[in-house]
Symmetry: C2
Subunit: 213 residues, 2 copies
């Protein structure tokens, strides 16, 4: 089975391949894809191995076919809908971003506690009251939740999502979630990322100054 890191890169490769296709390309070599993805050719070849597709030593990979094989691995055959909880700034930004982008992985329901936000349609997606979360998720057979509520409500929302039956959660709140073993949760912690960048930016600055004193 493909590792977590590999799955992430496959998602990236697919988008890059889509772009190449639009540009009229039909084949690509591992080193070209690696350059676009910011990785090495060997890594690209290994990742592609895991989807069970083989390229040709002379022409490289056939883009259309490779996209199809990646889709076989990544996509749910019947399409998958996601639910977003927390229609604030960030929630709306994410709804806007995914609106009409990938039909097989769309945000099909949003939830908020604020009565002024519910019963509206934002970026093509209906907003429900958080009270109806369990029911809507069951009806629409939603298996993925996206949490964009403030940190102090994130765990509570996660518990509701899990109890409603989702098996994957993408969490934007700055709090690591506690979830049962049968649920996959990924924390996308912006504060952490920014502090990390700030730290390594400082390192790089110091290196520069050390060279040219």
């Amino acid at each position: 089975m493909a590792s977590e890191k590999t799955i992430g890169r496959l998602s990236l490769y697919r988008r890059l391949l889509d772009r190449l296709l639009v540009q009229g390309k039909s084949h690509v070599y591992s080193h070209q894809l690696a350059a676009l993805a910011g990785g090495t050719a060997a890594q690209v070849r290994r990742d592609i191995m895991s989807v069970g597709y083989s390229g040709s030593p002379t022409r490289g990979y056939e883009i259309r076919e490779l996209i199809r094989c990646i889709g076989n691995v990544l996509d749910d055959l019947h399409g998958a809908g996601a639910a977003l909880v927390g229609v604030g700034n960030l929630g709306r930004a994410i709804m806007a971003y995914f609106s009409g982008r990938r039909p097989h992985l769309a945000i099909v329901a949003a939830f908020d506690k604020d009565v002024y936000k519910v019963n509206r349609v934002i970026h093509g997606c209906p907003v429900y009251s958080s009270d109806d979360l369990r029911q809507v998720i069951a009806e629409k057979k939603i298996r993925v939740g996206i949490i964009t509520v403030p940190g102090n409500q994130a765990q509570e929302v996660a518990d509701q999502l899990v109890s409603a039956g989702v098996s994957g959660i993408l969490n934007f709140a700055p709090v690591p979630l506690r979830t049962p073993e049968h649920v996959y949760a990924d924390d996308l912690d912006v504060t952490m990322s920014l502090e990390k960048v700030a730290f390594f930016a400082r390192q790089k600055s110091l290196e520069k100054e050390a060279v040219k004193p």
Copy 2:
């Protein structure tokens, strides 16, 4: 030197420790911090080793002092300002989120091409024209850039930021950035994260069904 992963976790630990402090706690054991952070006690101890602080076998770590030591590693002594480029939905969400949160790492300038957005103050942060990017970044000695523009403009903005002198970039656009070796860049790819969650959610569902058929 601390690894990339360790730096990220230190940022998380610090926020958790802040919370504990507010709750009136004064000491914490590695296994408690690990539970909050979703890691193991051994990992917490190793991470803390790298900031050069030692706890007591009887009382654990003194929270206030540990926060200080983590700050010594993570924070720039003189504070660090970040610049955000792209005042759209996502840009505003991030500005709102960091507004007044961490004084030593604030977003001190935002940029946009849209004339209706420039010369305003959003979430306490002045918005400048993208034309003035180089000048403002030099004046304010900004070393960290945040990219929240659409994918097709991201690389161009990154090049401008690099040429203006930043040494770290946090990129939200769904395109891996090409940056010179002396610049640290982190791509925070939401599409990738969501597709990863959807994939592993499906795995988990299948596991569940396999057990209870």
